[in-house]
């Protein structure tokens, strides 16, 4: 299994802090699972112009290709202006319409205020469904006050991330097995 942890903003440190914890959790609990962290702050990615993702070059192609080749994606995102950051939306725009088909996608979100709790539900999940992702229904919502100097300070947050990782790996395995059984049944 090959998991991509996608940190969806090019500024700030809280989402990255939560993603670092997430990646470590995957690596410790599931050492046989490959996990690649993509922090969009580390890449120069161009805006989507509608071309096929293999026709981009450099960082843009690398990021798009890495995501397309993943079995599961854990998205970490802050909330900007009551929505997901443009950097993250751009990643979706780079991919084919059904670019998340046969992938499990889970979400953790960092936000300055509880008023943003439903942003994932109302804005991110519809995009993921449209792109045919298998969504892990529960997401981890992390308030700003739970992260101090790049460390998670609230055990409840850490434990919820642990469960998110468990659910992501569990569901990915389940879907992979399900698909395998289904494909074998076709007899070709």
């Amino acid at each position: 299994m090959n998991i991509v942890a996608l940190s969806g903003s090019n500024v700030g440190s809280k989402t990255r802090a939560a993603m670092d914890y997430t990646v470590n959790t995957v690596a410790q609990k599931y050492p046989e699972t490959g996990v690649t962290l993509i922090d969009l702050a580390d890449f120069e990615i161009q805006f989507s112009d509608g071309r096929h993702f293999l026709d981009y070059e450099g960082d843009t192609q690398y990021v798009a290709k890495t995501i397309v080749e993943a079995d599961a994606i854990i998205i970490g995102t802050p909330i900007f202006q009551a929505s997901i950051p443009a950097t993250l939306k751009n990643i979706f725009d780079l991919l084919p319409q059904d670019g998340l088909r046969d992938k499990v996608v889970s979400v953790l979100v960092t936000a300055g205020s509880l008023t943003h709790f439903l942003i994932v539900e109302q804005q991110l999940k519809p995009i993921l469904s449209y792109m045919k992702a298998q969504i892990v229904q529960d997401y981890v919502f992390i308030e700003e006050q739970n992260i101090h100097r790049k460390e998670i300070t609230n055990d409840d947050v850490s434990l919820r991330i642990d469960r998110l990782v468990e659910d992501t790996v569990g569901l990915t395995e389940t879907y992979m097995n399900m698909r395998k059984a289904q494909e074998e049944a076709y007899g070709f």
């Binding site: 112009d49 096929h52 993702f53 397309v68 084919p96 088909r101 046969d102 289904q182 076709y186």
Partner: protein
């Protein structure tokens, strides 16, 4: 239909097209040389002709894993190696070429083949060739529309007066040689959505509709929209041919056909497209209502006839060589087409 060299009384035409992909055979694990691939394409056209197949076409792609960048050159070799089969591009990327040079090439192929050449003009689904050939991707749409219009003009007028954005103006210019009958059938390549089909209809040009997968009913709206747009623009849709193009493979049983072709499609798509072809979608080729024409000869006959009933199209073009299918298998396919599929299709679609 006559000016497009199609006689509906003889029934629906059946053709073969290749994108000219040059991919390893996943069952053997090896890739033949580009030289061998090109020679096999020429031989395939000869076999198709011997089997009575109406049409053979070669695509232009400039990406990695393709061998037919110079598709017009390959078509000229096919023109020389065959006698009666119609030959065409599928597609020529008109956006990134000079329509004058393209027309010169295809008019010449028409003369070599003694009046058998056609063209399908498209705009490329992949855009690496814009960099390679020195075009700006931002002009994607305008390049296609302007150059396609010029291509049609050259086809229709012996003396051309023209000016536009992407090419030097033409003053009383003669584009030579002229094809055997003065002009060529030129088709407009159309992708998935009705919007694209509507443009072909408004232009009053034959439509070449590619379909990858999905239900027949999903493509019907494009066909209907094309004819309606043609009518609105003052063309008689009954005089405009439609061709569909998609995956095709046949073997003794439907399951064997699926078994043999799927690895080629899946692995080939991974290399050329970055992702495989969902097996679930491919498995539905055993359903009469889907457009993937993969199955036993009987299954494929029924599917093509059902499509004909729905679309009323004049030609179906089969892509059976994608992803490194061995020449032996291609030969077997041609044999089944010639002995079983073609006679049945002609029998049911020709005027009695």
């Amino acid at each position: 239909m006559e000016n497009y060299r199609i006689d509906p009384a003889k029934g629906m035409e059946f053709g073969i097209y290749t994108l000219g992909d040059h991919l390893p055979d996943p069952t053997a694990g090896e890739r033949i040389s580009a030289e061998q691939r090109i020679h096999e394409l020429i031989e395939l056209a000869q076999l198709a002709e011997e089997a009575g197949i109406d049409f053979f076409s070669v695509g232009e792609s400039h990406q990695e894993y393709f061998a037919t960048q110079a598709h017009a050159v390959i078509l000229s070799a096919i023109a020389q190696a065959t006698e009666k089969i119609k030959i065409s591009s599928s597609s020529t990327i008109i956006s990134t070429s000079d329509p004058v040079r393209v027309y010169e090439n295809f008019a010449t192929v028409d003369l070599i083949s003694q009046g058998r050449a056609e063209m399908v003009a498209g705009r490329a689904s992949r855009v690496g060739l814009f960099d390679l050939l020195g075009y700006d991707l931002r002009d994607y749409e305008e390049l296609y529309e302007e150059k396609f219009a010029l291509l049609l003009k050259i086809n229709e007028e012996e003396v051309v007066n023209w000016d536009g954005q992407f090419r030097a103006p033409m003053k009383n210019a003669k584009v030579l040689p002229r094809p055997q009958n003065g002009s060529l059938p030129i088709w407009r390549a159309v992708g998935g959505t009705p919007a694209s089909a509507i443009k072909a209809g408004h232009a009053g040009v034959p439509m070449y509709l590619a379909h990858l997968g999905g239900p027949v009913t999903s493509f019907k709206p494009s066909i209907d929209a094309y004819r309606e747009a043609a009518r609105q623009s003052g063309f008689d849709p009954t005089g405009l041919p439609i061709s569909t193009a998609g995956f095709f493979y046949t073997a003794e049983t439907t399951q064997q056909a699926q078994q043999e072709y799927y690895p080629h499609i899946n692995e080939g798509m991974k290399l050329t497209n970055g992702r495989g072809f969902p097996k679930q979608a491919f498995a539905q080729s055993d359903d009469l209502r889907t457009v993937i024409n993969v199955g036993s000869p009987q299954q494929v006959i029924e599917k093509i006839l059902y499509q004909h009933e729905q679309f009323g199209h004049q030609r179906f073009i089969a892509q059976m060589d994608f992803g490194g299918v061995s020449f032996d298998k291609l030969r077997k396919n041609i044999e089944l087409i010639g002995t079983e599929i073609l006679p049945a299709i002609k029998k049911y679609t020709a005027k009695q």
